[in-house]
């Protein structure tokens, strides 16, 4: 018996060690490679970058305008997450206040969207956007709205597709707020708007924080919608990375300095806000 337990412990340590190495090696290797020249890399991929160079990074920002794509990604992520959270917490609040079958219907209609994979909708969504743009252009008096290759277009579309998930998480949380709080506020003659702003939102802050982080990760890493709807002007960081691949082929030091640059903001945020990241990502998947 003791032997079996001992063996299990060894298996545990060994497998944890192996998996750690499998996770760490690629990550450390790209970090190290990003400070090498191509020549250094080809000579010996495993060696540490001595002497280290930051030329790759300089090149990316000076020649490839990485800072512009950074700016685009930051704007895209911030506004998409902000609008999604505002709109979906309004729906979540309405669901809680309505109660009964009405709440069930509203919630059901929105959650339906979670069941349809994004890739099923990508072609008709693109077709719809083309037709909308043509329609807007044909009607003289509407200001010219472009959904393709504009940041606001990308924000509107990504917000629309994220609403289901966000409503799902936030409604689940708001349902746990005691109904008496709303009743009491109503007795005191407060409006629905006031109740939303002064009762529902403050009490849901933990859920809002964790789902905001969850959404941030999704939007920052978005590829599909950037691929479909952006060109040169609204290009996001992930798209820019994808383009580098065409440009640099297997110039790994160059590619990896791009990968490191694009990942650093999320990784640093993750290390500091770990608890919230994990709470957000689990609530999104467990309840999803």
């Amino acid at each position: 018996m003791k032997k079996i337990v001992q063996r299990l412990l060894t298996v545990r340590v060994a497998s944890l060690f192996i998996f750690s190495v499998i996770i760490l090696i690629p990550l450390l290797s790209i970090l190290s490679t990003s400070f090498k020249t191509m020549k250094q890399y080809v000579m010996s991929p495993l060696q540490l970058p001595i002497p280290a160079t930051v030329d790759n990074y300089i090149h990316l920002f000076v020649e490839n305008n990485l800072h512009i794509y950074f700016k685009n990604s930051i704007i895209f992520t911030f506004f998409t997450v902000f609008i999604t959270i505002v709109f979906s917490s309004m729906v979540a609040f309405a669901c809680v206040r309505l109660g009964g079958w009405k709440s069930f219907v509203v919630f059901g209609v929105f959650v339906l969207g979670m069941l349809i994979p994004a890739q099923v909708n990508m072609i008709p969504l693109y077709g719809l956007v083309v037709k909308l743009e043509n329609f807007v252009a044909s009607v003289g008096w509407i200001p010219d709205i472009k959904f393709r290759d504009t940041l606001y277009g990308l924000i509107i579309i990504k917000t629309s597709v994220l609403l289901s998930l966000s409503i799902f998480i936030l409604t689940g949380f708001m349902k746990t707020i005691p109904k008496e709080l709303f009743e009491a506020a109503a007795v005191d003659g407060s409006t629905e708007g006031w109740m939303f702003y002064r009762v529902a939102i403050p009490l849901s802050l933990p859920a809002i924080a964790s789902s905001s982080i969850f959404l941030c990760v999704i939007v920052w890493n978005d590829l599909l919608y950037s691929l479909l709807f952006t060109g040169e002007k609204a290009k996001t960081l992930t798209m820019a990375l994808l383009m580098f691949r065409g440009e640099y082929e297997s110039d790994y030091p160059m590619l990896f300095s791009g990968v490191v640059s694009a990942s650093i903001p999320m990784v640093v945020a993750y290390l500091f806000l770990q608890r919230w990241f994990i709470a957000g990502i689990t609530s999104g998947s467990v309840k999803g």
Binding site: P45, Q119, N121, I123, F277, G288
Partner: protein, 290 residues
């Protein structure tokens, strides 16, 4: 007390966006699937079930993409679920070392699929790749071709998916495991139960609902692996790693056959729906309460 009518206004902004850009496209896609629209011209014709007919009877690439999708899904679901459960059991206690390892295992989840794809494309590179370099150290001459080998390419990408998401699902299992009351374990150890008995009689029944969630989530995730596969196969289409979503994208945006791609999307949706229903039936666990 009934809410005031104004409450309906809270739903309006979200509903407008959602219905236009999320709900409507599904119906529009169904409509497009019966046309021969090229995505550019204003006009198109109705072709009835021709697109569906061609897809099912004539298109070997589409058939290949479905089979690749299944291979990818099965390998990811089986290995990712097992690994994440095992690591969750190993790391369930909140000790410093365990928490540090959880942080590490979870880390790849927050990287973008494009980053992960680049990292692993380079690892697999048969000329300058890290795996090649490591094999060289051990004196292995003819290593596998990895992504270049059409027989194993899809499994190589499945491995990457597992690499990136095991930590995420491990966290879900840990949440489930930590919800099991500690008294149950105390009682079982007092009764002299073996480790295996404890697992099969206490842990497993109580973790089964979490396992059902993990499996369902992983299945969906593996169907949605467009980003990773698209970025890893980098445009060179020998179809070895084609899955349904990359097929749809390519047919529409490189072949300008929007009607045809829409029909493929509808078939894709039906397949995902069927698998979800089957899984739901299989995984419907009897809730155990102690």
């Amino acid at each position: 007390m009934k809410p005031k009518k104004v409450i309906y206004l809270f739903i309006v902004p979200a509903f407008l966006l959602y219905s236009l850009f999320s709900l409507y496209p599904t119906f529009f896609g169904l409509y497009l699937s019966f046309t021969n629209w090229d995505g550019i011209s204003a006009g198109y014709d109705f072709v009835g079930f021709k697109n569906y007919n061609n897809l099912i009877t004539n298109d070997t690439v589409f058939a290949k993409s479905i089979s690749n999708n299944m291979k990818f899904m099965l390998s990811v679901v089986i290995f990712q679920t097992l690994l994440s459960l095992i690591f969750a059991l190993f790391l369930v206690k909140n000790k410093t070392m365990n928490v540090a390892l959880r942080t590490l295992f979870f880390l790849p989840t927050i990287l973008s699929s494009v980053s992960v794809a680049f990292i692993w494309s380079s690892m697999y590179d048969t000329n300058f790749g890290l795996i090649k370099a490591i094999l060289d150290v051990f004196g292995v001459q003819n290593g596998p071709g990895w992504l270049a080998d059409p027989n194993i390419a899809i499994y190589c990408i499945a491995f990457v998916q597992i690499w990136a998401h095991t930590g995420q699902l491990m966290i879900i299992f840990i949440a489930g495991l930590q919800a099991i009351p500690a008294e149950l374990y105390e009682v079982s150890s007092l009764e002299g139960a073996t480790k295996f008995q404890t697992f099969s009689k206490i842990t497993w029944p109580l973790i089964a609902p979490a396992a059902a969630i993990v499996i369902a989530y992983t299945t969906m995730q593996s169907f949605k692996a467009f980003d990773l596969i698209f970025a890893m196969s980098g445009g060179n289409s020998n179809y070895a790693t084609e899955i349904m979503s990359t097929f749809i994208y390519r047919v529409a945006f490189q072949g300008y056959k929007f009607g045809y791609a829409s029909a493929a999307s509808i078939i894709f949706m039906v397949i995902v729906g069927l698998i979800t229903v089957i899984q739901f039936k299989l995984l419907k666990t009897d809730q155990v309460k102690y």
